[in-house]
C-alpha cells in the first residue's frame, strides 16, 4: 500500500525506454520514501516481461495479459488501472509523456480526481507548509516543469489527493539497471474483474507503424537550427553540414513552427531531450524550453548574430556572426582539414 507506481508502456511486446527511465527514477524515490516500487504492464502475450522490470528495481510487477489490452485503447487500460489503484492506493504514479501516457494519464487522473502534472523535467521529494491552513505536509512529490512556453520553471504539488501523478518525457531521466539479480513479486491481474463491455467500444481498425527515420536521440553530433536561420533554404544548409561531419539535424520549436523542419526533429521540452558529444546551435536564441532538451550536451557551439543570446551562456564556443556565412565556412574548412 502507498507505494510508488510506474505505468509501463509496452510496444510490440517490449517495455519502452521511457518506462525503464521512470523505474530508475521511481527506485530512487521509493528508497527515499522507504516504500516499494511497483510496475504495471498491460498488453497481450507479454509473459516474462516482469524479469526486465525487476532488474530496473521493481519490487512488485502487476501484469495484465489479455487480448483486449492490445493494441492500446484508452478505456480498457483506464478501467484496469483505476481498479488496481483503488485497491493498492499508490502515493505516486508515473507515466511516460508519450502519446500513450498523455492519452491515458489525464483519463485516469480525472477518474480518480487526483491531479496530474505533465512533462516534468525533475521529480523530488520534499515537505510543504501551507501557512494559510496551518498545515505541514511531509514527503510530497515535487513535480518540476517548465511552464508558460518555457519562460519559467514551476514546482507543482498535490497536497491532498492521491496518487500524485506525473508524466515525464523520454530521455529526460537516466535509465540504469538497478540490480541484475533483483527479484520481485509477480501479480497476475484478473482482467475480467476490471473490464466492462462498454470499455471495449473503441476499435483500432488499422495501424501503420514504421521505424522513425530521424534518430537524433542517439546521435553523437547534432547540428540544430532555430528561427534565426531565417528561411527554409538557409535551414537546409544544416543538412549539408550534418552530412559532412556525420551528424543528425535537430530543430528548435520556433523552427518547426515556422515550417523549416519536421516535428520529429524538435529538441526541447516539447520535443526530444538529447545529450550528444557535440551540439551546434545555429540561429537558436536559447529559450529555456529548448535549452531543457540539450543543456547536458558535452560540448556546445552557439552560432548567433546576437552576442547576448541566452544560448551563449551555456555554450563552450560562441561564434557571433551571420549563420548563413559561417555554416558554409565550417563545411569548407572541415573538408580542407580532413583531406
Amino acid at each position: 500500500m502507498n507505494n510508488v507506481f510506474v505505468i509501463c508502456e509496452i510496444d510490440e511486446g517490449k517495455v519502452v525506454d521511457v518506462s525503464l527511465e521512470l523505474l530508475t527514477k521511481g527506485r530512487t524515490l521509493a528508497n527515499e520514501l522507504k516504500c516499494k516500487l511497483e510496475a504495471v504492464a498491460l498488453g497481450h502475450n507479454i509473459g516474462g516481461i516482469e524479469k526486465e522490470l525487476y532488474q530496473y528495481g521493481a519490487d512488485v510487477v502487476h501484469v495484465g495479459d489479455d487480448e483486449r489490452l492490445n493494441p492500446y485503447t484508452t478505456l480498457p487500460h483506464t478501467a484496469v488501472i483505476t481498479g488496481l489503484f483503488g485497491e493498492e492506493k499508490p502515493q505516486i504514479a508515473l507515466l511516460g509523456a508519450t502519446t500513450f501516457g498523455r492519452d491515458l494519464g489525464p483519463r485516469v487522473s480525472s477518474a480518480l480526481q487526483s491531479g496530474l502534472t505533465a512533462d516534468c523535467t525533475s521529480l523530488e521529494i520534499g515537505d510543504h507548509e501551507d501557512k494559510k491552513a496551518g498545515k505541514t505536509y511531509k514527503d510530497l512529490l515535487y513535480q518540476i516543469r517548465p511552464a508558460f512556453g518555457g519562460n519559467i520553471v514551476a514546482t507543482i504539488i498535490n497536497p491532498d489527493c492521491r496518487p500524485q501523478m506525473a508524466t515525464v518525457r523520454e530521455g529526460v531521466m537516466k535509465k540504469e539497471i538497478y540490480d541484475k539479480h533483483h527479484k520481485g513479486k509477480l501479480n497476475k491481474l484478473d482482467i475480467n474483474k476490471y473490464l466492462k463491455p462498454e470499455d471495449l467500444v473503441v476499435k483500432v481498425v488499422e495501424r501503420h507503424m514504421e521505424k522513425s527515420k530521424v534518430n537524433i536521440k542517439n546521435s553523437s553530433i547534432i547540428v540544430s537550427g532555430g528561427y534565426g536561420m531565417g528561411s527554409k533554404e538557409n535551414f537546409d544548409m544544416l543538412y549539408e553540414l550534418a552530412d559532412v561531419i556525420g551528424a543528425e539535424v535537430g530543430a528548435s520549436r520556433a523552427a518547426v513552427d515556422a515550417g523549416y523542419a519536421e516535428h520529429d526533429r524538435q529538441i526541447g521540452q516539447t520535443g526530444v531531450t538529447v545529450r550528444p558529444k557535440l551540439y551546434i546551435a545555429c540561429g537558436i536564441s536559447g529559450q529555456i524550453q529548448h535549452v531543457a532538451g540539450m543543456e547536458d550536451s558535452s560540448m556546445i557551439i552557439a552560432i548567433n548574430n546576437d552576442p547576448n543570446a541566452p544560448i551563449n551562456r551555456i555554450a563552450d564556443y560562441v561564434i557571433t556572426g551571420d549563420v548563413a556565412e559561417i555554416v558554409p565556412k565550417m563545411i569548407k574548412y572541415y573538408k580542407q582539414n580532413t583531406k
Binding site: P106, R107, A118, P159, E210, V291, R313, G321, M330
Partner: protein
C-alpha cells in the same frame, strides 16, 4: 441528418512573446499583460469541425470557450470562419483552475447545451502544453476519447472513424458517437475568415460587451439575434463550487522560478575565415568530429 458538433477553443497568451509582468505574485499567469491569440491547435480542431459541416448537411458547429470577457474574441473569430454559434463560459469562480477544475466546468457547460455528437478540441494549449483537458472532459462526460487526431475521416451511422498521428506512425480507430476528439497541429490548417461572415458577425457581442452599447446597437441586435453571444456563469451550469477554481484543483503551484543559466567561460569567435578554420582544426584534432 446533420451532426451537432461542439468545438472547445481557448484564448491563450502568446507565449512566444512574454514580458516581465507576465506572472502574478501567487504564481498564476497575468493574462491581462500578454497578447491573446486563438490557441493554434484549436484552429486545427475548428477546421475538422467545418469539414464535417461541409460533408454532412444540417450540421451545426458551436464554439465553447472558457475565459475572461475578452475571450469573446475567440467566438467571433470562429464565427468569421464558419462556426454557427458560440458560448462564453465566464465567471470569477473559475480563477486559478487547474486542468481538472477546468474540465469539470467545461463538462457541466456541455451538459447544458444541445446534446453533442462530437466534441472536438485542440490536442493542447500553448500556455500549459498539458494535453489534459480533452481526455478529462471525455471522462467527466463518460464518453470515449480519441486523442492525437490528424483527420476525422467520417462521422455517420452513429460512429466516427479517426486517423491518429502517433510517434512512429498512423493508427485508424473507430468509436461510437458521442465522442471527444483532440486534434494535432499536423492536421490541416484552419480556413481563413470568410468576407461575408466577417460582415455578418463583426458586431456580435456578449451581453457584457453590449452593456455600454448605443441605442442603435440595441435596435440592431433586436433585428439580428445572431449578433448576441450568450454567456454562461457558474449559476447556469449547475456546478458544485467545491470542484471549481483553486478549491477544485488537486495540483497547486508551490514555487515559480525565473530561468537563470549558469554562465560558462566560452571561447568567443567571429565569422572570420581563420577563426572558423582554427575551430574546425581543433575539433578534428581532439576527435570531437571526424
Amino acid at each position: 441528418m446533420g451532426l451537432n458538433i461542439i468545438v472547445l477553443a481557448k484564448q491563450v497568451p502568446d507565449t512566444r512573446n512574454v514580458g516581465k509582468d507576465a506572472m502574478k505574485a501567487d504564481g498564476t499567469v497575468n493574462r491581462a499583460a500578454l497578447p491573446a491569440i486563438f490557441n493554434p491547435e484549436d484552429l486545427n480542431a475548428l477546421e475538422q469541425a467545418l469539414r464535417l459541416k461541409d460533408k454532412y448537411k444540417g450540421t451545426t458547429v458551436t464554439i465553447l470557450t472558457m475565459g475572461p470577457g475578452r475571450a469573446a474574441d475567440i467566438i467571433r473569430e470562429g464565427l468569421y470562419r464558419g462556426a454557427d454559434k458560440g458560448y462564453l463560459l465566464t465567471d470569477r469562480a473559475f480563477a486559478g483552475s487547474d486542468t481538472l477544475a477546468t474540465s469539470y466546468a467545461i463538462s457541466r457547460a456541455i451538459m447544458k447545451l444541445e446534446k453533442a455528437d462530437i466534441i472536438i478540441a485542440g490536442r493542447q494549449a500553448i500556455d500549459g502544453d498539458t494535453a489534459q483537458v480533452g481526455p478529462q472532459v471525455a471522462e467527466k462526460l463518460g464518453m470515449p476519447q480519441i486523442t492525437y487526431a490528424e483527420e476525422i475521416v467520417s462521422a455517420d451511422k452513429g460512429k466516427v472513424v479517426v486517423k491518429r498521428r502517433l510517434e512512429r506512425g498512423v493508427e485508424t480507430v473507430e468509436s461510437p458517437l458521442p465522442v471527444v476528439v483532440t486534434v494535432n497541429s499536423s492536421a490541416p490548417a484552419c480556413r481563413p475568415r470568410n468576407a461575408k461572415l466577417l460582415m455578418k458577425y463583426k458586431h456580435a457581442k456578449t451581453i457584457t460587451e453590449s452593456q455600454n452599447a448605443s441605442e442603435d446597437y440595441i435596435n440592431l441586435t433586436n433585428d439580428r439575434p445572431f449578433l448576441s453571444i450568450p454567456e454562461m456563469s457558474v449559476n447556469d451550469i449547475d456546478a458544485d463550487s467545491k470542484w471549481l477554481g483553486l478549491s477544485g484543483s488537486p495540483t497547486k503551484v508551490k514555487q515559480i522560478e525565473n530561468i537563470v543559466f549558469q554562465a560558462k567561460e566560452a571561447k568567443q569567435l567571429t565569422a572570420a575565415d581563420d577563426e572558423i578554420n582554427e575551430l574546425m582544426k581543433e575539433l578534428i584534432a581532439n576527435h570531437t568530429i571526424g
